[in-house]
């Protein structure tokens, strides 16, 4: 069952075409890594899925339900707002720059959305938060403000915050790019645990080691198009496309 499916997705910023006919499928339980040069449109693709960017045209299906259908300059279909919100919340997002709430403690960062969006009982949200903070190794830091945490701890907290909404799929946009090299490992470790627990993940990353070990499929994106995709061994060892080859050679 595909948790995410896009059909003929186009996105342009003014004259600049950033996504060109993207047809992405992410099946339940898959860990899909998107790699590619800077400016390829990887972030824009992720942000289009959860509506942080307004697509120019195309269809997006979430959990096999039509979420949005736009043709150039007009919205053809948009789900009812309660369904829209439910489908939107099936995607959790982790940003490159964490975007934690600086005025809330680690614990409050995690409980805020469950309490205010899901209207969960406080005690229930707190139980989930405690469990998740333990899972990402931050049980000790529950009462700290984000500014008192290291970059790696902040990103792990951001993962816990997204997981607290119990999404079906997690979107990661270069989650380790803003981190000092020695802190990358702890975040990737949490992500690997998450992958092993069966979470569906769509990860934009420059960490080729992670893509090789954890990904069930790797997509190479270039110039707004999904140029090549396949299992990690194929993309890293015997890429077919010339651009993929060049990219792989340049980074390994």
């Amino acid at each position: 069952m595909a948790l995410i499916r896009t059909e003929n997705l186009y996105k342009s910023f003014g004259e600049l075409d950033v996504l060109k006919d993207v047809n992405l499928v992410v099946e339940q339980g898959e860990v899909v890594c998107i790699i590619g040069p800077s400016g390829a449109g990887k972030s824009t693709l992720l942000r289009s899925l959860n509506q942080l960017e307004k697509i120019t045209s195309g269809k997006i299906f979430i959990d096999e339900e039509l979420f949005l259908h736009r043709e150039k300059n007009s919205t053809v279909f948009r789900t009812a707002s309660d369904i829209y919100k439910r489908l939107l919340l099936e995607m959790g997002m982790v940003f490159q720059s964490f975007n934690l709430f600086p005025h809330k403690t680690a614990f409050e960062n995690v409980t805020l959305a469950p309490i205010h969006v899901k209207k969960m009982k406080k005690s229930e949200a707190e139980e989930i938060a405690r469990e998740l903070l333990g899972k990402v190794g931050l049980a000790e830091k529950a009462d700290e403000y984000p500014s008192r945490l290291s970059g790696g701890q902040q990103q792990r907290l951001a993962i816990a915050r997204a997981l607290a909404m119990q999404p079906k799929i997690m979107l990661f946009d270069e989650p380790t790019s803003a981190l000092d090299p020695e802190l990358v490992g702890e975040v990737l470790g949490v992500m690997k645990d998450l992958a092993e627990s069966g979470m569906t993940m769509l990860v934009v990353t420059h960490e080729m080691g992670f893509a090789r070990d954890a990904a069930s499929r790797v997509i190479f994106m270039c110039d707004g198009m999904m140029t090549e995709e396949g299992i990690p061994e194929k993309i890293f060892m015997e890429p077919e496309n010339l651009r993929t080859k060049q990219f792989i050679n340049s980074i390994l």
Binding site: L52, M93, F95, N99, P102, H103, K104, H116, R161
Partner: protein, 318 residues
């Protein structure tokens, strides 16, 4: 980021605290001295017997607040001779000579000046308080995607920032009754309150808008991906973070208003400046400006200190 190491901001903060303590201590000392009235007998002993003798039954005595005594003798209403004495710290001094004269003057003026200061401070506080409340809606309105609302809020801000406060005040008090008698505002304080509130709402709206827009875009994005509505995002995420950034410019605005209140002279409302000017013209001396300015300084130092503490309290998560 660099604000995080507290050392760079602690120094002026400490200095401000020291200034406040010194000013408050000086004021407290003055008041304590002034109130230590000497016993009545100390005064009578001090007055020369010849003065009372010559006066006969045309002798009268006025005791002012703050232990200033005025005695006079003369026929009918014409005063032939007068002497002023001042009681400070249990001692009675003759004021007619030397440097005690200004001290006696200040003590004489103080009640009127404090009366004026009360108007100045209360008008500033309620005008800025209500103004800030209004300005939140103005700022959100101006940022709204709903064009008519955003245009209307923009026009309001443009008008009140683009015309002199003096004219706005004048218009509220004298102009509105001419448009329609139903708009007459008889209470001068109320008229001044309306004008200052409308005006400071416009200024604060721009302050609030700037503070909200200085919040990282990522905060809105994270809130959206977590499913928070726009109102929840504002209430739970953006506005709480803006408050700390708001405090310094709002403090600035408050201190500007505190001084702008002197414009209420134009509608003859007796604020501190108005009081000072009328004392100055009746006593034929500009000395009264010195205690008046000191009172202004004490007020601004006090409020700077309060706002400073507030800012610190809202910075705990930094």
């Amino acid at each position: 980021m660099n604000i995080r190491d507290g050392t760079s901001i602690n120094i002026p903060r400490k200095r401000l605290l020291v200034n406040c303590v010194v000013l408050v201590a000086a004021l407290a000392a003055c008041v304590a001295l002034a109130f230590l009235k000497p016993p009545a007998s100390a005064l009578t002993e001090r007055i020369s017997p010849s003065f009372i003798e010559e006066a006969g039954d045309k002798y009268n005595e006025t005791v002012y607040d703050y232990a200033v005594f005025n005695i006079a003798r003369g026929k009918d209403l014409r005063i032939a001779a007068a002497e002023t004495y001042i009681g400070i710290a249990g001692q009675v001094f003759s004021v007619d000579t030397g440097f005690m004269r200004p001290v006696a003057d200040v003590l004489l003026w103080l009640p009127a000046l404090l009366e004026g200061a009360k108007i100045t401070v209360s008008l500033s506080i309620i005008a800025v308080f209500v103004g800030v409340f209004m300005s939140v809606f103005l700022a959100l309105g101006k940022m709204s995607k709903f064009k008519p609302l955003s245009k209307a809020c923009g026009a309001y801000i443009f008008f009140f920032r683009g015309t002199p406060l003096l004219m706005q005040l004048f218009f509220v008090y004298y102009g509105l009754p001419q448009i329609s008698s139903a708009l007459t505002i008889n209470n001068k304080f109320l008229a001044a309150f309306i004008a200052f509130t409308l005006n400071s709402a416009a200024y604060c709206a721009e302050i609030i808008r700037a503070a909200i827009q200085s919040i990282d875009k990522g905060q809105f994005e994270a809130s959206r991906t977590l499913g928070l509505t726009y109102a929840q995002t504002m209430r739970l995420i953006i506005i709480p973070q803006s408050i700390r950034r708001l405090i310094p410019p709002i403090a600035n605005e408050f201190i500007m208003v505190l001084k702008d209140v002197s414009l209420v002279s134009i509608i003859a409302l007796s604020d501190l400046t108005h009081m000072t000017r009328s004392i100055s013209s009746s006593s034929n001396s500009v000395l009264v400006y010195i205690p008046a300015m000191i009172i202004y300084l004490i007020i601004t130092a006090f409020f700077s200190f309060v706002f400073d503490r507030l800012e610190k309290r809202y910075s705990v998560y930094q």
